[in-house]
Amino acid sequence: MNNQPFRGEINLEAWLDRHHIDVIRTQATNLEGVSIGKYCNRGKFTKTLPGGHNVADIALAMDIAGTPHLTFWHSFRHETLGDIALRPDLDTLVPDGTDLNLGHCIGDFVQVDGSPINLCPRTNLNRLVGEIYDMGYEVKASCELEFYLFRDSFADARRKKYQNLQPIGASKLQTVYLLRNAFHARTFMAEVTRRLNYLGIGWEAWNDENGSGQIELNLTPSDPVNIADAVVRTKQIIYEVAVDQGMSATFMAHPVRGYSSGMHIHHSLTREGEAAFYDVDKPDNRSDLLRHWVGGMIETMPGAVSYLCPTVNSLRRLTEFSAPPTTATWGEENKSCALRLITRSAGLSRIEHRLGAADLNPYLGLGVILAGGISGVRHSIEPPEELAQIGWGLPESFERLPRTVNSTSAALQNDAYLKEVLGTEEVEYWIKTRKLAWLSFHTEGGDPDSKKPAQWEYDRYFEIV
């Protein structure tokens, strides 16, 4: 089969003919990280280029449960409920491979006159990557996706209210890298990786993770927008393969007792092809750029929690010795810190950001991480002392990252650096979306004292994030 993407070609009609594509599924990601779009027939898709087809502006202004944002406002919205457009990025046009007449195209939300909407997560990430490029650098990033896989179908899981599901795997022990567990997921993951390969999404490895039924899949480094596109596509593929195979998979961050699902994000900068985080002349190999980049990310980390752990459910992850970091710390090859530095060679030099939850919006998650780095360089922020010890169980004098919606919102509200880079209106709108979810949690069944996720969390997140 011919799985060449459209990227690099000129004649769209010829490409569509060659791939026998009659239908194109458009896809864009709203603030919640949820993929939305339409199945367009070929004529409609091509006729509306380059602007794209219209969608109601509420597509970018509703919560994960589909409730429109009617208790706050953003200037992109139309005063009497109007349309915006989903503008396809033809560089992302690919054939599906499984459905032979189907193609996929990711796009950005724009106004119908084509002007950008800064609140669109993909547009904003593209802008940040451009800023870094203007600073003289290129960024590469990659993500580690963690999710839970169950033998129960989504319909059965729903019937069981998502409780007592049967995890994939041989053992109920909290093992990691156990090949016997992974063996049980091989049919599922074989189909997932087959579809990834077909769509041109690079992946490096997958393995059994700590939780019973938990799997980790590592994507190949790429440009941040490409990697965020790859994340939303991969999540969709995992969902679809689960449906096709009568199973269920979830990126809900904390669906079961024990280990939660994160999304570690690696990134590095290069200048004219050379590793910019690496300086062979420094005794520790760390460049001045890296020092300020880390300084900015540490300084903005309390505010960044709101984007990286965006839900009541993902904030449940932040407990000591449970794998996610609990302090804004950094260290060389230190996986108990929020930032793990790898600087032993130019080729490997990178930062692993370990705070992100599986339910984050990858465009916003990558965006807030890069915004921290940009702030660090812009304002020459010095990092605190490196943590050479373990980052959990520290005395109270070590400030903990905020762990509630209100405290993460307050930290973000007070973060002038992140507002400067991400946009004040965009940041404040985001905070209001978090507070809306917080209000819904408390007034629609969530118990603030329960250690167990509320039914409200399962109903809202299990099948959607």
Binding site: F72, W73, R77, L81, K432, H442, E444, G445
Partner: protein, 214 residues
Amino acid sequence: MTTDFVFKLETDPVPIVLSLYTTLKHALSNPAYAALARSIDGCFSIASTRDPQSATITLKGNQIDIHHGVSDKAKITINLDLSRMSEEGYRPSVKGLLRHPFFAYRVGRLLNFPATSWADDAKRFWDSTQFLPYMPKAIKFTSTDKQQHLSFGNGPTDVEICGKSKVLSSMLTGSSILVEDIIAGRIQIIGSLKHLSVLSEATLKMKLGELGHE
């Protein structure tokens, strides 16, 4: 007056705590109810019958503590449907009523303080919220039962809000949220989605105690 009282809320308060704080602040702006509050010594709990929301309020002199959860020390626990609180004739069940009848009577009176003047509430609302981003430049409120109109701001009216005076008061003091009142048919609006949203935000801020109504 409210300013004589010292409120102590839990760290990172949940919505029911903030909502009760707003309700009590409103009640205590009436001197008679401030005196009533001073006469109450002890704590009581409020628990929702529809969800896990609950809170405990402790009154001692001029100090009022509010935190979430039902306390073992509560003299009475009021079990109620929070969505029906403002309904006329709605009677919640009260545990501990027979052991502490006078305490329960005073608490009941404090929580059922009489409606304030809708016109005063509208003025206080406008004074507190007119500077919020995207607020209308001019607004008109219409009381449908009293056939009264009140306008605030300058220039042509951007938004008109209509409803019975009691319902308007409830919304303007943060006891209810504008968009919910509109969806329920209790309030009508002539205006844009933008103004509906920002006015709803304003009422939500009132409800959560982020804007005062001294």
